[in-house]
């Protein structure tokens, strides 16, 4: 089917600004297929159903808008105290000097560029494969663009229990950097890995993470998207879960002009469990979009979506979350909650929760709320001597608690709570304060 003229023009312009497809062997085929998918779909536009609340223009543009990197001052980098395997990318380019050796017990890590040279590679069955599968029923053209043009990334094969978490650190240096990273993680049956991601990465950042969680394997993912005010990012998590496997993913977003985090999770084996959670705090020129699609394709799987946003001074939050229960996926337990706390009348939250169920013995619930801070609770705290700002922070943290509780590691959860507390001490609504 031919694209409408406007979409075709936008795509041609964008493609003209990108280098020719690179790589040989298996990866060149994967990239060519992704490019074909992109050409069939075109770039996202405001009139597309899943882009109504988020303007993709700055993500589609040939050049990224300039964004200064942010100096966090004396705030310690997240995950610093952890025993971890550190991999650093600067403006989207792997930095071997700053990174640890890419090997540890239970894991094998390769750079995408190195693996692409091989004739045969396990990543052939994964790179672009989950992304391609995730294009239906909702198109995700920016993910196809990523698969076709990713310039760097990691292929992580987890064969056992990875004793250390792998920590990806995304440093943003250049004001005009435009990074496209694509990672694949393959967990063998019964294997486990914790993947940590931290940092804004670039002025404009596109990232795809494809994760294959085999039977009985477990994948924990904790992500902090950095505190740069001006950066823009679009990220996709595609995950396929086998029987009795587990996925837990938590994202903290503080600041950022534009963030679109998509998660596409397929529960393909019975008794699998997927928990996706996000806490976002935004002040002013902040647009944050969580778009989640969970498919229950097997019996007795559990999924949870817990997304909370705190918005002030004109910030915008978006949540589009879907649970699809296929026929035969009996005993499904699906839960979805999206909530926003609006600290003033200038901020807004747009939510589109969806359920589509083709099985008759399932438990699915969803809820979405938007509210102001509880003035009675605020007064109660103040009357005990707690300053208004601190009282407000306590109530905001209480609001975010359900999302933060999804982090399995209590030390990391506590660190995140403390970071949020400090963030809240620095930011407040200008209205009525």
């Amino acid at each position: 089917m031919a694209l409408p003229k406007a979409k075709e023009d936008a795509l041609s312009a964008r493609l003209a600004g990108l280098p020719a497809l690179s790589g040989k062997g298996w990866i060149s085929a994967a990239r060519a297929e992704a490019l074909a998918r992109l050409q069939a779909m075109g770039l996202p536009a405001k009139r597309d159903e899943y882009w109504r609340y988020t303007d993709p223009a700055s993500l589609n543009a040939v050049d990224p808008a300039a964004a200064k990197s942010f100096n966090p001052g004396d705030e310690a980098p997240p995950f610093d105290g952890l025993d971890r395997l550190k991999v650093v990318f600067v403006d989207g380019v792997f930095d071997p000097q700053a990174s640890d050796d890419l090997g540890a017990e239970g894991i094998r890590i390769e750079r995408l560029a190195d693996a692409a040279a091989a004739d045969i590679h396990w990543a052939q069955g994964l790179y672009g494969v989950l992304e391609a599968a995730g294009q239906s029923p909702v198109q995700r053209p920016l993910a196809a663009l990523n698969t076709a043009f990713a310039t760097d990334g990691l292929l992580i094969h987890v064969t056992g229990n990875a004793t250390k978490p792998v920590a990806l650190i995304y440093v943003h240096n250049s004001d005009n950097s435009d990074a496209i990273l694509h990672h694949c993680v393959k967990l063998d049956p019964g294997a486990s890995l914790t993947l940590l991601e931290n940092g804004p990465a670039a002025a404009r950042f596109s990232k795809v993470l494809e994760v294959d969680v085999a039977d009985g394997a477990s994948f924990h993912h904790i992500r902090l998207q950095g505190r740069d005010h001006e950066r823009r990012a679009v990220t996709h998590l595609f995950a396929r879960l086998g029987a009795r496997s587990e996925l837990r993913s938590f994202t903290l977003t503080a600041n950022g002009r534009l963030t679109r985090n998509e998660a596409v999770v397929d529960l393909t084996g019975p008794d699998a469990r997927a928990h996706l959670a996000g806490a976002a705090v935004g002040d002013g020129d902040f647009h944050h979009d969580d778009t989640v699609f969970i498919t229950h394709g097997a019996e007795a799987c559990e999924s949870r979506q817990v997304f909370k946003k705190v918005l002030m001074n004109g910030a915008t939050g978006v949540f589009q979350g879907k649970i699809l229960v296929k026929s035969g996926a009996q005993k499904t337990d699906g839960y979805q909650i999206s909530q926003s706390l609006l600290l003033d009348e200038d901020s807004q939250f747009l939510a589109k929760p969806e359920l589509e169920i083709y099985a008759d013995d399932v438990k699915c619930s969803h809820g979405s709320t938007s509210g102001a801070i509880d003035e009675t609770a605020l007064f109660y705290l103040q009357s005990r001597g707690v300053p208004r700002r601190t009282a407000q922070a306590l109530l905001v943290l209480a609001f975010l608690a359900e999302a933060i509780q999804e982090i399995a590691d209590e030390d990391i959860a506590e660190d995140i709570r403390e970071r949020l507390e400090r963030w809240l001490a620095r930011h407040g609504s200008k209205a009525g304060a």
């Binding site: 609770a377 109660y380 103040q382 009357s383 001597g385 707690v386 208004r388 943290l397």
Partner: protein
């Protein structure tokens, strides 16, 4: 200690006058009770003193040891030594009772320029005080007042009072919703805090509470004014004859 002069208060949102010239003086170590029919302005007085939004002071003053309360933020009034035990303690999901208590105690200490209490010392102190109020460790861990019974909520108010050590305590219908045993427990908690340097203003509908917390002075409030002041015998008179006689007598 607390001195209220000619206090006039109306609702901020509508033209409804609630307090029409309240005068009240409470000396250090004294216990005063305010009784009065529904709608006489008793609870409003407690809210205005503690700084709740929604009220407009049109005239008068309220000072604590000479410092004007009405110009302070609620947290500053607390730091100055004022405490209000709420008639309806507020539930705060997601905020642990212990975290709340410690944040409050340390915030007050900080604002007075005193050193903060260490986590260990604090824990020890809370446990000690909680024990006398029959508040168990489980209740301390739960979110503030969430799922607490009426009695537990009131005991939790007294625990906060014990931890914060205010000089001027206002108890707003602390007896409401309490059974006999709980009232005894709460009253014992209050009586244990009575001292030469600490004053109380007990707002209540019933004489019952005053059997447990013996007041030095009893005031009758009606239509936004204190219309009669006397000793403990005034409370008994109300209990036996209702407010009608007093209202007629003054009226």
């Amino acid at each position: 200690m607390l001195e209220i002069k000619n206090l006039h208060v109306k609702l901020e949102e509508e033209d409804k006058v609630i307090l029409r010239g309240v005068d009240l003086k409470i000396g250090a170590g004294e216990v005063h009770a305010i009784m009065g029919p529904n709608g006489s302005g008793k609870s409003t007085l407690s809210y205005v003193l503690s700084g709740r939004d929604g009220y407009e002071v049109t005239a008068g003053s309220a000072t604590l040891d000479g410092a004007e309360l009405l110009e302070m933020e609620p947290e500053d009034r607390a730091a100055a030594g004022l405490f209000l035990a709420f008639q309806y303690p507020v539930e705060i999901p997601g905020v642990g009772n212990m975290t709340f208590l410690r944040t409050a105690v340390n915030a007050q200490k900080k604002s007075r320029g005193e050193p903060e209490v260490s986590a260990a010392d604090f824990l020890k102190l809370v446990r000690e005080k909680a024990k006398t109020l029959k508040i168990d460790a489980e209740m301390l861990k739960r979110p503030v007042n969430v799922g607490f019974s009426g009695g537990e909520k009131k005991r939790n108010e007294i625990l906060q009072m014990a931890m914060l050590e205010p000089r001027m305590c206002i108890l707003d219908e602390t007896d409401s919703g309490l059974d006999v045993d709980a009232m005894k427990l709460v009253s014992d908690g209050v009586n244990a805090l009575r001292s030469e340097g600490r004053s109380f203003l007990v707002i209540t509908h019933y004489q019952r509470l005053l059997d447990h917390i013996k007041p030095d002075v009893v005031h009758i409030m009606a239509a936004g004014r204190i219309i009669k002041t006397g000793g403990p015998e005034l409370a008994l008179e109300v209990e036996n004859n209702g407010y009608a006689d007093i209202l007629n007598e003054v009226g």
